[in-house]
């Protein structure tokens, strides 16, 4: 057999996959390893999906997605953040943010272009840059700084080949919310060096202690905004996301999308229309619940001796496990075998994640409290 694609063949499988394989074979695992809401999609949205099926909305939609859905997304961004995009040619519906990220990187990058990726970050960022022919350039962030992105560190990583900076805020895995000042500093750098900003804001509604800053409002003309319905509306399995970008970028994204995905699922798009048309009570209720669990869980982690930065968004805590003397992979594996608690080792999100574990608090409160008891027992057994 002739060799397969060298970039993809050289890309290691996600470290998360390994932990999934171990945890999947065990019984009674309390999982803090889940990167999705524990709520089921609110009933009114599910009902809209059922209605769509009953009435035969089983066809393709236009490549860019249902016009009504694009209008709602653009209205929502303008209303909440003052970020203005034209629903006709600056917005397209994707099959989740994952597809959106892939599209945008393919559209922006030429072979050899560099993308600055502050880490620890979502596991797909670096591989997707590579798949698109680019080179990811890691920039570390530190938990001592609440994982804020330092403009001077980013500036030092800029070369003539740098094309874009890829940011996720609020962040998976750290729960960090980038302060407005940090984002403004990045915008200045982007303007100075003529860079694109790719902003993954899938967790934008899930912030707890402050206001989310939308990069599309700060630097509309050089920002590609990625968002979706998975987290705030508990719709992970529906696979609906969107890209909002300046017209030339959005147009090329539609071009790739029309030849690869064609369109996002029609039923899912109609469910998403309902998600944005209806009252906000469901989202507010879920956010309030996450916030309460966050407070209990983070306090619990600190009480059992794990130093934990305050996660301002998403639904992850990213405590330091350095006091255990173990590296993050050993810690997670031994915790899983000894106490049947699944967490994700921090190093799978980048070198700066070493010494941490990612714990999702998208889990019922009694489970979180039991997990804390078990982690405490594990720490005492070391």
């Amino acid at each position: 057999m002739r060799p397969l694609n060298s970039v993809i063949a050289a890309c290691p499988p996600s470290g998360i996959r390994r932990f999934f394989d171990i945890a999947a074979e065990m019984d009674d695992v309390i999982s803090l390893g889940v990167g999705e809401p524990d709520f089921v999609t609110p009933w009114r949205i599910r009902e809209a999906g059922i209605y769509a099926l009953e009435h035969g909305y089983t066809t393709y939609t236009s490549n860019a997605g249902l016009p009504r859905l694009r209008e709602l997304i653009c209205d929502d961004l303008a209303g909440r953040y003052g970020a203005t995009y034209d629903p006709r040619d600056e917005c397209l519906i994707t099959t989740g943010v994952s597809e959106g990220l892939d599209l945008v990187l393919r559209v922006l990058l030429n072979p050899g272009d560099e993308v600055i990726v502050p880490e620890p970050c979502y596991v797909a960022y670096e591989p997707c840059v590579g798949f698109a022919g680019g080179t990811p350039v890691r920039v570390p962030t530190r938990w001592e700084d609440d994982f804020a992105i330092a403009a001077d560190v980013v500036a030092a990583a800029i070369t003539p080949r740098t094309k874009a900076i890829l940011i996720g805020s609020p962040a998976n895995p750290t729960g960090a919310v980038q302060p407005r000042a940090a984002l403004e500093a990045l915008v200045r750098l982007a303007e100075e060096h003529d860079l694109y900003l790719i902003s993954d804001e899938i967790y934008d509604r899930l912030t707890y202690d402050g206001v989310h800053t939308c990069l599309g409002a700060l630097a509309r003309d050089r920002t590609v905004l990625l968002g979706g319905f998975s987290k705030a509306h508990a719709m992970t399995g529906w696979r609906v996301g969107w890209i909002c970008a300046p017209q030339p970028v959005a147009e090329l994204c539609v071009r790739v999308h029309q030849y690869t995905m064609l369109c996002a699922p029609h039923v899912s798009q109609l469910a998403a229309v309902e998600a944005l048309s209806g009252p906000d009570d469901d989202v507010e209720g879920m956010v309030a619940d996450y916030d309460r669990r966050r407070r209990v869980f983070v306090k619990g982690l600190r009480e059992i001796g794990l130093d934990c930065p305050e996660p301002g968004g998403a639904f992850y805590a990213f405590p330091s496990i350095r006091s255990s003397g173990l590296d993050s992979e050993t810690f997670a594996e031994r915790l899983l075998h000894a106490e049947s608690v699944a967490v994700v080792p921090g190093n799978v999100f980048g070198p700066s994640g070493e010494g941490h574990i990612r714990c999702s608090y998208a889990t019922a409160l009694p489970q979180l409290e039991e997990a804390l008891v078990r982690i405490d027992r594990f720490l005492h057994s070391l």
Binding site: S14, I16, F20, A23, G33, E36, D38, N172, R292, A342
Partner: protein, 163 residues
Amino acid sequence: MRQILELLERDAQLSHDTLATMTGIPVEEVSAAVAAWEASGAIRRYKAVVDWDAVDGDSTAETVTAFIDVSLAPARGVGFDDVAERIARFPEVRSVYLVSGSQDLRCTVDGRSIRAVSDFVSQKLSTIDRVRSTATHFVLKTYKRDGDSFAAPEADHRLPVTP
């Protein structure tokens, strides 16, 4: 403070410590507020929501529930209040509402059997002065009560570890 009551309404077993952590309100203030609500009657009592159909093998746990619509003759000065309060005192009566429409009161009544509920209606409720008529609807199955769905909980279909 209101959110403390909302949390307790959902789960009365939450400790004051946990409530304080969840809301960011100091634990002393949580305890004082709960004590004050208990004293004033704003918190009437704490109870469990039981799905009796799910209690296997306990035939004594079975009850019959009926909604009974009552038509009343109002009285000068008190309207329906005196009769409604009198009906509400019966231990068989779980709730009493004054409602709009063709009837005046809607009551929920529990009994050990259909016969017991029928006897209550015919001998106690219908014989009260100014009760003009009653209409009894027996509950055949409970799907949701007071905001709690009695359907089986939705399974967690998530994989144990995801990105």
